[in-house]
C-alpha cells in the first residue's frame, strides 16, 4: 500500500508542478464557467411589446385589440408602418366590416427572421384577443365568457431548482467536463512515462505491476478530486445551489472521477506518442461533452439526441448531477448512473492494468 501511495503522491506532485496542468485544472475551468455563466444568465423579465399598424378605415378593431392585449400585459404602441426590430400586428383593411358580417379577418404579424418563444406566445395572445373580439361583435344573449366551461388551475407539486441558466448551469456542467477532460488527458502522462523511460525505472524497483497501476489510478483520482473541490468552492462563491444530499453527491462524483481516471489510464496504454494520446483524449472529451448535455441542456434538443446521452459517460454524469441538483434525487434515482460508472471502471481498469507495460 505504501508503494501505491508513493507513486500516487509523486504523480500528483508532477502534475501540480506543470503550468499547463495548473491552467487546465484551475484557470481554464474558471474562464469557461464565468464566461458562460454570465452569458447565459436568464434575462430580466420584460413585458412583450407589440406595435399595431391599423390599415382599416375605422380604429374599432385596432383599439379593441389594444384593450384586450394590454389586459394580458402586452405593451402596445401604434404606428403607421411596421417598426423594424419589433413585432408589429397589421390590422388589415376591412377588418371591422368583415368582423361584423362574420367573414374571415386575416391578421398579419410581422416578426423577426426566426421564430422565438416570445413571438409564438404573442401570436396566441393575438388569436385569443381576436376570438374575444369576434364574440363581442356576435354575441347573442350572454357573453361567450359566461358558459359552462371553466379553467381550474392546479399544481402537481413539482418543485425543481432552475438548472438551465447562468452559473447554476455552467458550474456543474463544466465541473463534469473539465474533470472528465483532465482525467482523460492525464493518460498522456502514461505514454510520456513510457517514452521517457520513467515507467521502466519504476518497473525495475521492487513494485508490482498492480501497485504501479493502482498508484497511477490513485494519483489521477486525487487530481480529479482537487478539481472537484475547487469547482464546488467556486460554486459556493457564485451562490449556486448544490445538492440537498451532499454526501450522495460527493459519492457520485467520486465514482465518476474513478471511472474517468481509469479510462484515462487505458487511453495512455494505447498510445506510444504522448501528443497523439492527448489529442485523442481532447477529441473524445470534446465530442462526448455536447452529447452528454454539458454544452447545452438536453431539454432543448430532440428526443433522439436526448436518448443518446444515456449511452455516454458524460451523459450519465450530467443526468445524475442534474437530478440531484434540480429536484433532490436520492440514491435510487442516481443508482443506474452510478452503476454505469462502476461497470465502466470494472471493465477499463483491469484492462489498463494488464496493458500497462514499460
Amino acid at each position: 500500500m505504501r508503494n501505491v501511495l508513493v507513486i500516487a503522491w509523486y504523480d500528483m506532485k508532477r502534475v501540480l508542478r506543470e503550468r499547463e496542468s495548473l491552467f487546465w485544472l484551475f484557470i481554464g475551468p474558471l474562464i469557461f464557467t464565468t464566461f458562460f455563466g454570465l452569458l447565459m444568465r436568464p434575462p430580466a423579465p420584460r413585458p412583450p411589446r407589440l406595435t399595431i399598424v391599423n390599415q382599416d378605415a375605422t380604429d374599432r378593431v385596432a383599439r379593441g385589440m389594444e384593450t384586450l392585449l394590454a389586459a394580458e400585459g402586452v405593451v402596445i404602441q401604434f404606428a403607421l408602418e411596421p417598426v423594424p426590430g419589433r413585432m408589429s400586428l397589421i390590422v388589415p383593411a376591412g377588418a371591422d366590416a368583415a368582423l361584423a358580417s362574420g367573414e374571415a379577418v386575416p391578421f398579419v404579424l410581422r416578426a423577426g427572421a426566426e421564430e422565438t418563444n416570445a413571438e409564438r406566445n404573442t401570436r396566441f395572445r393575438i388569436q385569443k384577443a381576436a376570438t374575444r373580439l369576434y364574440f363581442a361583435a356576435h354575441a347573442a344573449g350572454a357573453p361567450a365568457a359566461e358558459g359552462p366551461l371553466v379553467i381550474a388551475d392546479g399544481d402537481l407539486g413539482v418543485r425543481r431548482h432552475e438548472t438551465t441558466a447562468g452559473f447554476q448551469r455552467s458550474v456543474p456542467a463544466y465541473l463534469v467536463m473539465f474533470v472528465f477532460l483532465n482525467l482523460l488527458v492525464s493518460g498522456a502522462g502514461i505514454a510520456e512515462d513510457r517514452s521517457s523511460g520513467r515507467l521502466r525505472r519504476i518497473a525495475m524497483a521492487p513494485v508490482s505491476r498492480g501497485e504501479i497501476a493502482l498508484g497511477k489510478l490513485l494519483g489521477r483520482f486525487g487530481i480529479g478530486w482537487i478539481q472537484i473541490v475547487y469547482m464546488l468552492a467556486f460554486g459556493f462563491v457564485v451562490g449556486i445551489t448544490w445538492a440537498a444530499n451532499i454526501w450522495l453527491f460527493l459519492a457520485f462524483l467520486s465514482v465518476f472521477a474513478l471511472a474517468s481516471a481509469s479510462l484515462g489510464i487505458l487511453l495512455g496504454t494505447a498510445f506510444e506518442d504522448p501528443d497523439k494520446c492527448a489529442s485523442v483524449a481532447v477529441w473524445t472529451a470534446v465530442v462526448l461533452s455536447p452529447l452528454g448535455g454539458l454544452w447545452w441542456p438536453l431539454e432543448v434538443v430532440g428526443p433522439s439526441m436526448r436518448r443518446l446521452a444515456y449511452f455516454v459517460p458524460t451523459g450519465w454524469a450530467m443526468e445524475g448531477v442534474n437530478a440531484m441538483l434540480a429536484f433532490g434525487a436520492g440514491a435510487r434515482d442516481v443508482a443506474p448512473f452510478a452503476a454505469a460508472f462502476v461497470a465502466l471502471f470494472a471493465v477499463s481498469f483491469p484492462l489498463a492494468a494488464r496493458r500497462l507495460r514499460a
Partner: protein
C-alpha cells in the same frame, strides 16, 4: 528564396509521412458539426421552434371529453403542439420533473354530464413550473378553447334549457313545444353556421425579406452547416497550426536548426521556410476541410474570389501566432501552454462556441475585431448570404491586419532569437 522553399518542402513532406495527429485534429470540426446538426439542425433548418408538449388526462372518457384534446391537435394549433395522453397525475408529475412537457390538462369525471346540464364543467390546467413560456402558450389555447366552447354553447342555450326543463318535469313535450324547440335549434344552427368565420380569424407571420414565413438558416440543411462549419474549422485550424509549429520547435530542440545554421543558408531563409511551411500546410488542410464541407455537408463553395483571401489571411494569422509563440518559448511545453491559452481566449471571445449575436453589444464588437471572429463571420457572409469580396471587405481588413502584425512580430522575434 530557393533555400526557403526547400526547407518548407522538407517540413511538408514530413507531415505527409506522419499525418496521424493532424487527421485527428481535422476530425474535430467534422464530428462537432454532425453533433450540432443532430441537436439543432432540424429545428434550425425549419426556422421554427419545436412543438410545445402538452399532456392530457381524460378521466371522463366520453364524446364531449374526447373533443378537448382536439383543440390542440387540429387546425393551426396542431403545428405548435404535441399531445400526449397520460393515465395518472403521478405519470404527469414524473414527466414534468424531467422537463418533457409544458402543461397538463385534466378532463375530470362527469365533464360531459356537466356540459349537457349547463352546470360548471371544469377543465383542470396544470402548468409545469420549470418552464415559463410553454405553459403560457398552452394556457392561451385552453382559454381560447373555453371561449369558443362557451360561445358555441351560448348559441343553443335557449332550446337546451327548454329540453332540460321538459326532462326535469318527466313528461312528453306538447306539439307546440316540439315546433318551438325545432325552430330554436334551427336558429341555433344558423348562428353556429355564422360562427364558421372563427376559423377564418388567422394570424399569419411575415418575416423580413419574404412574403411567406421563412427560416433562420434557410429551408435547406446545407445552410445550417454553412453557418456552423466555418467556426469549427477555424477553431480546429488554430490547434492544427499549434501542432505544426510545435514540430518546428522540437526540431530546434533536437539541434536541427543549429545544424542548418552552419550551412551556407541565410537565417532569413530558415525563418521564411518555416513560415512558408506553416502557411502552405494550413491552406492545404483548409482546402481539405472545405472539400469535406462541400462533399459531405453539401456546403456550396460560392465566390472563391472572396473565400480565398479570407482563407489565406487566416492561415497567415494562425501561422504568425504560433510562430511567435515558439520564437518566445524555451520549451515545447511552454509553447503549447501559451498557444493553448491564447487560442482558448480568442475562441471564447470570437464567438466560436456561442454565436457572437448572442453576446452583449460590447462583446459583439470585440468578437468582430478579433481575426477568428472576423474570419468566421466573413465565411458566413460569403457562404450563407452570398456576399462577394466587396461585401466582406471589412472582415478581410481585420483578418489581414492581424495576419501581417502577428507574422511580422514572429519574424522579428525569430531573428532576434537566432542572433542571440
Amino acid at each position: 528564396m530557393h533555400a526557403a522553399l526547400i526547407i518548407a518542402a522538407h517540413h511538408l513532406r514530413r507531415i505527409v509521412r506522419n499525418p496521424g495527429l493532424l487527421l485527428l485534429l481535422m476530425a474535430m470540426p467534422v464530428s462537432l458539426a454532425v453533433i450540432e446538426y443532430g441537436a439543432f439542425g432540424t429545428t434550425a433548418a425549419q426556422g421554427t421552434l419545436p412543438p410545445t408538449k402538452v399532456l392530457v388526462l381524460d378521466e371522463d372518457d366520453t364524446l364531449v371529453s374526447g373533443g378537448v384534446p382536439y383543440a390542440f391537435s387540429s387546425g393551426p394549433a396542431k403545428d405548435f403542439f404535441e399531445l400526449a395522453h397520460v393515465d395518472s397525475l403521478d405519470q404527469a408529475r414524473r414527466i414534468f420533473q424531467r422537463n418533457e412537457a409544458a402543461a397538463l390538462i385534466v378532463v375530470p369525471k362527469g365533464f360531459q354530464d356537466a356540459v349537457i346540464a349547463g352546470g360548471r364543467a371544469e377543465l383542470g390546467f396544470y402548468p409545469n413550473p420549470i418552464q415559463t413560456i410553454g405553459p403560457e402558450i398552452a394556457r392561451n389555447l385552453v382559454e381560447m378553447t373555453t371561449l369558443i366552447g362557451n360561445g358555441l354553447y351560448e348559441q343553443a342555450r335557449e332550446p337546451m334549457s327548454k329540453v332540460r326543463a321538459i326532462m326535469a318535469a318527466g313528461r312528453e313535450p306538447a306539439p307546440g313545444e316540439i315546433a318551438e324547440l325545432s325552430a330554436g335549434f334551427y336558429q341555433a344552427g344558423v348562428r353556429l353556421g355564422g360562427l364558421q368565420a372563427l376559423s377564418g380569424i388567422t394570424v399569419g407571420v411575415q418575416r423580413p425579406g419574404d412574403a411567406q414565413a421563412r427560416t433562420g438558416f434557410g429551408t435547406d440543411p446545407r445552410q445550417f452547416f454553412a453557418y456552423v462549419f466555418p467556426g469549427l474549422v477555424i477553431f480546429a485550424l488554430l490547434f492544427i497550426a499549434q501542432a505544426l509549429a510545435i514540430r518546428l520547435l522540437r526540431d530546434r530542440m533536437r539541434g536541427l536548426q543549429r545544424r542548418i545554421a552552419i550551412t551556407p543558408v541565410p537565417a532569413a531563409s530558415v525563418t521564411a521556410g518555416g513560415a512558408i511551411y506553416m502557411i502552405t500546410g494550413l491552406l492545404a488542410l483548409l482546402f481539405v476541410l472545405a472539400a469535406i464541407g462541400a462533399l459531405i455537408f453539401r456546403i456550396p463553395l460560392r465566390n472563391p474570389a472572396a473565400l480565398l483571401p479570407l482563407a489565406l489571411g487566416f492561415a497567415v494569422f494562425a501561422s504568425g501566432l504560433h510562430l511567435l509563440a515558439i520564437a518566445l518559448a524555451k520549451s515545447d511545453r511552454s509553447a503549447s501552454f501559451v498557444g493553448g491559452v491564447v487560442v482558448l481566449l480568442i475562441s471564447l471571445l470570437g464567438g466560436t462556441f456561442v454565436p457572437a449575436e448572442s453576446f452583449p453589444p460590447l462583446l459583439q464588437g470585440v468578437a468582430m475585431a478579433l481575426p477568428n471572429g472576423a474570419a468566421q463571420q466573413g465565411f458566413i457572409d460569403v457562404l450563407v448570404h452570398g456576399q462577394g469580396p466587396a461585401g466582406v471587405g471589412g472582415r478581410l481588413a481585420v483578418v489581414w491586419a492581424w495576419a501581417l502584425a502577428t507574422m511580422a512580430a514572429a519574424m522579428i522575434a525569430e531573428r532576434r532569437r537566432l542572433r542571440v
